[in-house]
């Protein structure tokens, strides 16, 4: 029997690669039926340097039967275009989309993209494996697959929601199983999934509530493997919050310390600054964390309330000073366009950060992402945003468009001035 060919595709920025596609491949291939009858390849395209026609050219040579796309706000337009052209050329090809850009709005995505056959909602590993079984004719219909939306007789059908994987140990490591090859500066590992917080602008907490952990022994093996590559000088942990539980951080720091063969550093680890103390900073140093990224997104009380973010000024300021004194680089993030803010309140946040003297200050404009509280209930704050990705904010009831535009121009100038090579 001829193997079913599957291409899992991601358009990434800055030479990164898709961790999620690695998970999909290794999880599906645990099933002997899929392992035997399907050939799953991961294809990463650079969103800056590869255009859609290059991707089309590649796929025209490979001729996969099924193409899966990992969809984010920054690549959705490329995905839509490529899916449309692929379907024109090869009408029989099956096109499956997943990821945070489409999962929360599958019906809308299918309605707007006639070339797309299936949208995976929520966590993808189990759903993708069942879809593969369907395509290998081991499942009678898609109706029994939870966590998808698909077309049936011209209608869009959405199946029951799929619960999250309880034991993340069920997912093999894409590094240890050869699906992904570590590269310097762009290698991600995940030690946990989910977030206990509910920030209104963020996808993670609302869609993956609570925390689930990968087995610590598996984390150890991944680090040993990644740092055994001599070229790897730094890698990332993509956990929502790295320092949530101190007892776990103690164990993780020991693992990161012991398993790190080459002395590679961890960069831009996300931390909850308010809960840092001297011991935590020591543990971060022990884990060889070189830089952390943290909020506060804004320092204005009304805005903090509107976006349901946890921010305590004194604790935050103290945490930043502890990190800097501990020799860890600190990147603080501010968002332009949050409900409750305006030009001068944004400037107040920017000045508050400058007074703290973090290593860098990162400004971004609010993306009202599907699946977030602001996307669902933005009307409460008069949010106007672009329905098309990357879903940039236009205005809200406190921050009119002209002021947001000025704030963006000012922020570019401030960012260049503050962050210029020191």
């Amino acid at each position: 029997m001829k193997k079913v060919k599957v291409a899992l595709i991601a358009f990434n920025w800055a030479d990164h690669f898709s961790l999620s596609n690695g998970y999909l491949k290794v999880y599906a291939e645990q099933d002997p039926l899929i392992e035997k009858n399907a050939e799953i390849q991961i294809v990463d395209f650079d969103a800056e340097n590869h255009d859609v026609r290059q991707a089309l050219c590649y796929l025209s040579k490979e001729r996969p039967d099924i193409v899966g796309f990992s969809c984010y706000c920054w690549n959705m337009e490329m995905v839509s275009q490529l899916a449309r052209l692929l379907k024109l050329l090869y009408p029989e090809i099956q096109i499956v989309l997943g990821g945070p850009e489409v999962g929360p709005i599958p019906e809308k995505c299918l309605a707007e993209n006639p070339a797309v056959d299936v949208v995976v909602t929520g966590e993808g590993e189990v759903t993708f494996r069942e879809l593969m079984k369907f395509y290998l004719k081991r499942l009678p219909s898609m109706a029994s697959i939870r966590g998808i939306a698909y077309r049936k007789n011209g209608e869009i059908v959405r199946t029951e929601e799929r619960p999250l994987i309880e034991d993340l140990g069920e997912i093999p490591s894409p590094y240890l199983n050869g699906a992904l090859t570590p590269r310097d500066g762009v290698t991600y590992i995940e030690t946990s999934r989910g977030c206990p917080y509910r920030c209104a602008f963020c996808f993670e907490g609302k869609n993956f509530p609570g925390l689930r952990f990968f087995p610590e022994e598996r984390v150890r093996k991944e680090i040993e493997f990644i740092t055994s590559h001599a070229a790897i000088r730094s890698f990332h942990v993509v956990d929502s919050v790295f320092n949530l539980k101190k007892d776990r951080l103690r164990r993780l720091a020991q693992i990161f310390h012991d398993a790190n063969r080459s002395g590679a550093g961890l960069t831009t680890v996300e931390v909850m600054t308010e809960s840092l103390d001297e011991e935590t900073v020591e543990l971060l140093n022990k884990a060889k964390v070189l830089s952390v990224e943290t909020g506060p997104q804004t320092v204005n009380t009304d805005t903090i309330k509107n976006i349901a973010r946890y921010y305590r000024k004194e604790k935050f300021d103290r945490g930043i000073q502890l990190l800097l004194r501990g020799g860890i680089e600190v990147l603080t993030d501010l968002i332009i366009g949050l409900p409750g803010d305006n030009f001068f309140k944004f400037l107040r946040s920017a000045r508050a950060m400058m007074r703290l003297r973090p290593t860098r200050i990162i400004y971004s404009i609010l993306h009202v992402l599907p699946g977030t509280e602001l996307y669902v209930n933005g009307d409460r704050f008069g949010l106007l945003f672009d329905e098309k990705p990357p879903h940039l904010i236009l205005q809200n009831e406190t921050f009119p468009y002209e002021e947001i535009d000025k704030a963006v121009v000012m922020a570019v100038s401030m960012e260049r001035e503050y962050n210029l090579k020191l």
């Binding site: 305006n342 030009f343 001068f344 309140k345 400037l347 107040r348 920017a350 000045r351 508050a352 400058m354 003297r357 002021e403 535009d405 000025k406 121009v409 000012m410 570019v412 100038s413 401030m414 260049r416 001035e417 503050y418 210029l420 090579k421 020191l422």
Partner: protein
């Protein structure tokens, strides 16, 4: 919007500008005086040298070195950039750790610029200096982009053209523009429409633009651009009794005495209401 410790490095200048706002009184501080100032109050992690023309000091590079030694993260100079027409000077300055340049430009037409500076050929050198600073795009084997901040002193010679002056430098990837009212010979009512046009043109071209020495009441609708909102005034200013009625009174610098001598307060009207006043007050209070 970083606050810099401002250090006056003396009167010496290779231009001789009409309406130069710098008092010709006072001497030139020695390097040890400057170093002592830098080592004094350490509220700031960034330092700005102004004058005069900092590059005209024979110990210019020693001064930069001293600033680095004193631990300042950012070193800025307020300059006419003529010295950087020699790319070796530009490179040496950047290598010495000075990456921030606030450059005075009077006009985009060489003849008018030179007429203001009263030095023939100064425009050519300033523009060449800007080009050279931009040409240095690698430092320590990493991409580099010097922070170029254009300062356009508003004068009777240029105020009608200030929008075009600003726009003509956009191709040099200017990081910020400041319009400063240094010449008291024009009425605000005449200048302000041109200032607003320049602000709109700069924003349209995605360059942040600020003003200096223009009272807040004259900038209604454009308060976002008033630099004194977050940094202190650079000179001595005065107010009228009517200013007490203005919602911006407590954080507005006022207007220069020489302007008042000529035109009085007739173009300045207290602002009775503003949706920005409370936010600006809070921002300002936190800075102080």
């Amino acid at each position: 919007m970083i606050l810099y410790k401002r250090i006056d490095v003396g009167r010496g200048c290779n231009n001789n500008c009409l309406c130069c706002p710098v008092s010709q009184e006072g001497g030139t501080p020695s390097l040890s005086d400057i170093t002592a100032q830098m080592n004094g109050n350490r509220r700031f992690d960034s330092v700005a040298f102004f004058g005069g023309e900092p590059t005209s000091r024979p110990d210019f590079f020693d001064m930069l070195h001293a600033a680095r030694q004193a631990g300042y993260k950012r070193i800025k100079i307020l300059t006419n950039a003529r010295a950087f027409a020699d790319i070796n000077v530009a490179a040496k300055t950047i290598q010495a750790g000075c990456y921030f340049f606030e450059i005075k430009v009077h006009h985009h037409e060489p003849a008018i610029h030179d007429a203001v500076t009263r030095v023939r050929g100064s425009w050519d050198q300033t523009v060449q200096g800007i080009e050279n600073l931009r040409r240095i795009d690698m430092l320590d084997d990493e991409p580099f982009h010097a922070f170029l901040h254009l300062r356009i002193p508003l004068s009777r010679e240029n105020y009608r053209d200030v929008g075009n002056v600003a726009l003509s430098f956009v191709p040099y990837e200017i990081d910020r523009i400041t319009l400063s009212l240094d010449d008291s010979a024009m009425r605000l009512a005449e200048v302000l429409p041109h200032v607003r046009n320049a602000i709109n043109a700069a924003i349209l071209n995605r360059v942040w633009i600020t003003t200096r020495n223009i009272p807040l009441c004259a900038m209604t609708g454009f308060e976002h651009h008033v630099e004194e909102i977050y940094s202190s005034a650079e000179g001595t200013f005065e107010k009228s009794k009517l200013c007490k009625q203005c919602v911006y009174d407590e954080f507005c610098p006022g207007i220069s005495p020489s302007y008042l001598d000529r035109f009085g307060f007739r173009d300045l009207k207290p602002v009775s209401q503003s949706r920005h006043a409370e936010d600006i007050r809070r921002l300002r209070n936190e800075e102080s």
